[in-house]
């Protein structure tokens, strides 16, 4: 009983002990904040990757020529009852590297992109596409709005060089020349551009607080150059921008250009061929491995069968390894706090030597004295951990406000939104993680108080009483 009373009194009267509490608190808070922010990044990244990538992909071994008859393959898959039951939607896709060219102001710009031929309906059903469109969210179509079309036409009218002038034929034998073939106006196909291709992020916001500067308006022309499937000759075509794709994953937003599948096949003279079939599983399907296995059996190695995690495995593994190492390093902070407790406790034991002698003279057992100091360590650990949890969770919850304030105060951007295309710092507080951090730090606090507590309990009563 006296242990409780003394622990409590020591806590209230020893300001030195506050140092222990603060050090444990800071350690715990740091661990919670770092884990939550890293967890947030990783969760967000996974979410986005999974949102972008279909669950399973049938991919051709040859990325240039692909494979023929995707509809046949899809029919085979649909005819399998096991797979049919689990597959929600499939979308044939033709993917190839390309170069995009366009003019902005006085300058012509070119950059490499990934050109993806899709059917808007089937691709939308697979997911990770239509919901990321900027103008026609969830209504994927390769179509210009009337205003955009007008704008496109107007632009092209002022560019006569782009349209061949008809040659006037003279009559040779007195007969009137044949009628010119009816001139068909060239209507460019539409393309959906990645957001980062068509925009760039300015350092200073404009009067609307907008950082993004649009390089290409809807209806603007771009020229896409790629290789044809016939002898790998270059081929190009003019497209009109009709929408933007913004997934907030800079890797995708700065690379992807979507065009109609059929047109791309024609352009590349490889009608009916695709490079992959994207497959979306029904919600709640957990035996993904079995699906992959079945697909592999079905096609006998003719195509690769990959899950979205296979496609991004290295990135996901890197994140989890990073988090693990960071956790080990950060736990060292709490170990440092532990040494602080050891030092401060040793001082308190020396200071309390006479009191320990008194208590022993009054009949306190060695175990009882041990309990005072272990209890004291536990109390400091618990208090530090509790305060640290409160601090860490509050920092995590208000991290964006804090970042804002710090950025404002120092004039330095701490979280460059350019890099991640995240508007906010993502966080993910996990209860079990917080509990584990708390448990670990309390355990360390108790562990480091064992040595001084043992020393206190083994003091000889007479020597302790005589201690000046």
């Amino acid at each position: 009983m006296y242990q409780l009373l003394l622990c409590w009194r020591y806590l209230r009267t020893r300001y030195l002990a506050m140092v222990c509490i603060v050090s444990v608190m800071l350690g715990v808070a740091t661990l919670i904040v770092v884990n939550s922010v890293m967890g947030g990044f990783s969760t967000k990244l996974r979410e986005r990757l999974h949102g972008l990538l279909s669950d399973v992909v049938l991919e051709a071994y040859d990325p240039v020529y692909g494979f023929a008859h995707p509809e046949h393959k899809m029919a085979v898959i649909r005819s399998d009852p096991f797979l049919n039951e689990r597959i929600e939607a499939m979308a044939p896709t033709l993917e190839i590297f390309a170069m995009i060219q366009f003019s902005y102001g006085q300058s012509d710009l070119a950059r490499p992109v990934r050109l993806i031929g899709i059917e808007p309906e089937s691709r939308s059903r697979v997911g990770g596409f239509a919901e990321f469109l900027v103008l026609n969210k969830n209504q994927a179509k390769f179509e210009l709005t009337p205003e955009a079309r007008q704008y496109n036409e107007m632009r092209n009218r002022f560019k006569p060089a782009m349209q061949p002038t008809p040659i006037a034929f003279e009559s040779v034998d007195g007969k009137p020349p044949p009628d010119q073939p009816p001139s068909r106006e060239f209507v460019p196909e539409c393309a959906i551009l990645g957001y980062a291709i068509s925009h760039y992020r300015a350092d200073n916001p404009d009067e609307h607080g907008n950082h993004d500067v649009r390089l290409l308006q809807p209806g603007d022309d771009v020229i896409l150059t790629t290789i044809s499937g016939h002898g790998l000759k270059p081929c190009n075509a003019r497209f009109a921008v009709c929408d933007y794709f913004r997934s907030e994953m800079s890797e995708y937003d700065s690379n992807y250009v979507f065009v109609p599948l059929e047109y791309l096949q024609k352009l590349r003279t490889m009608e009916g061929r695709v490079t992959s079939i994207q497959i979306r599983l029904k919600d709640g399907v957990t035996d993904r491995a079995a699906v992959v296995q079945r697909l592999k059996q079905l096609f006998q190695g003719g195509v690769q069968v990959l899950t979205w995690e296979d496609k991004q495995g290295a990135l996901l593994a890197a994140i989890s390894i990073e988090k693990g190492i960071l956790n080990i390093l950060l736990f060292l902070i709490i170990a440092v706090a532990g040494f602080g407790i050891l030092a401060i406790f040793s001082m308190i034991v020396v200071e309390k030597t006479r009191d320990i002698g008194i208590m022993k003279a009054l009949g306190a057992s060695n175990g009882g004295i041990l309990k005072i100091f272990l209890g004291y360590g536990l109390l400091l650990g618990l208090l530090g951990a509790a305060l640290g949890t409160v601090l860490g969770v509050s920092i995590t919850v208000y991290i964006n406000e804090i970042e804002h304030f710090l950025a404002h105060a120092t004039g330095q951007e701490i979280f460059p939104r350019k890099v991640y295309y995240f508007d906010k710092i993502p966080t993910d507080i996990r209860a079990w993680q917080v509990a584990l951090v708390n448990l670990g730090s309390v355990a360390i606090a108790v562990l480091f108080s064992v040595l001084p507590a043992l020393r206190a309990s083994l003091l000889h009563p007479v020597r302790a009483l005589r201690y000046e």
């Binding site: 009983m1 006296y2 409780l4 009373l5 003394l6 009194r9 020591y10 009267t13 006479r354 009191d355 002698g357 008194i358 208590m359 022993k360 003279a361 009054l362 009949g363 306190a364 057992s365 060695n366 009882g368 000889h460 009563p461 007479v462 009483l465």
Partner: protein, 255 residues
């Protein structure tokens, strides 16, 4: 009186301290008996082993040789647990420097022996009764008004009174007082000794007081004078006079 058994008896107590590999003998085969209800004064020069004797008798330390009997039970070589129990329940201590716990109030200091004894639930169960006892004791020593004061808010005399109340809390059979007035002026010291005498007379409490101040010793006390680790005047033969009835030297002669 002669048929009475001694409450505390020591035989052939030997104790030496080791300092830098040199053995410093403190007690050399000391014999001593204390009868119930006695007020025993142990006097002697500094370094004569008075405090060491008190520590040995109070089980705060163990002798190198010899035995100590308390109420017929051998207590010099019993388990630590039993010795803790004896100090908690059968012995009371007061010291020269009062030795109150600075973090606790007077009342809490007095309650300390009971706090040490009780488990959490036991304490919650009996708390009221203990508190009442402690207040009574503080009243008895004249600190009824100061129960919530911390030691640093009290004078030396008051601290020593609180220490006496603490020593009485667990209703001890023997009270050990180690130079209880050593740090007080004459007047306060006299009051403390008066208080002890009153406890001895009225409650029949056995008191063993160590002092070097002969002014405090009254003619009714039994006085034992330590010289070079032995009781002066006692026969050096061990074992024969292990129970010596009133063998103390008359006080005034000793001076």
């Amino acid at each position: 009186m002669t048929t009475e058994f001694p409450l505390l008896a020591a035989r052939g107590l030997t104790k030496a301290y080791r300092r830098h590999r040199i053995e410093v003998p403190v007690l050399n085969g000391l014999d001593l008996s204390v009868m119930p209800g006695e007020f025993l004064c142990i006097v002697g020069a500094s370094g004569s082993g008075k405090s060491t004797l008190l520590h040995l008798l109070g089980t705060l330390d163990q002798p190198d040789q010899g035995t100590i009997l308390f109420d017929g039970e051998r207590i010099d070589n019993v388990s630590i647990r039993r010795r803790d129990q004896l100090r908690n329940q059968s012995f009371g201590f007061i010291f020269q420097f009062y030795h109150l716990l600075p973090e606790l109030t007077a009342l809490e200091n007095v309650l300390m022996p009971r706090l040490i004894q009780a488990s959490v639930f036991g304490w919650l169960w009996k708390q009221r009764e203990y508190r009442r006892q402690a207040m009574e004791l503080l009243d008895l020593v004249g600190l009824g008004e100061r129960i919530h004061h911390r030691p640093r808010e009290m004078s030396g005399g008051e601290m020593q009174r609180a220490a006496i109340a603490r020593a009485l809390m667990s209703k001890p059979r023997i009270l050990f007082a180690d130079e209880p007035t050593g740090n007080l002026d004459e007047e306060r010291g006299g009051e403390i000794v008066q208080l002890l005498r009153m406890l001895n007379r009225q409650e029949g409490l056995t008191i063993i007081m160590v002092t070097h101040n002969m002014e405090l010793v009254s003619p009714t006390d039994r006085v034992v004078r330590l010289v070079k680790g032995r009781v002066e005047g006692a026969s050096p033969t061990r074992g024969l006079n292990s129970i010596e009835p009133r063998s103390g030297v008359p006080l005034r002669k000793a001076l």
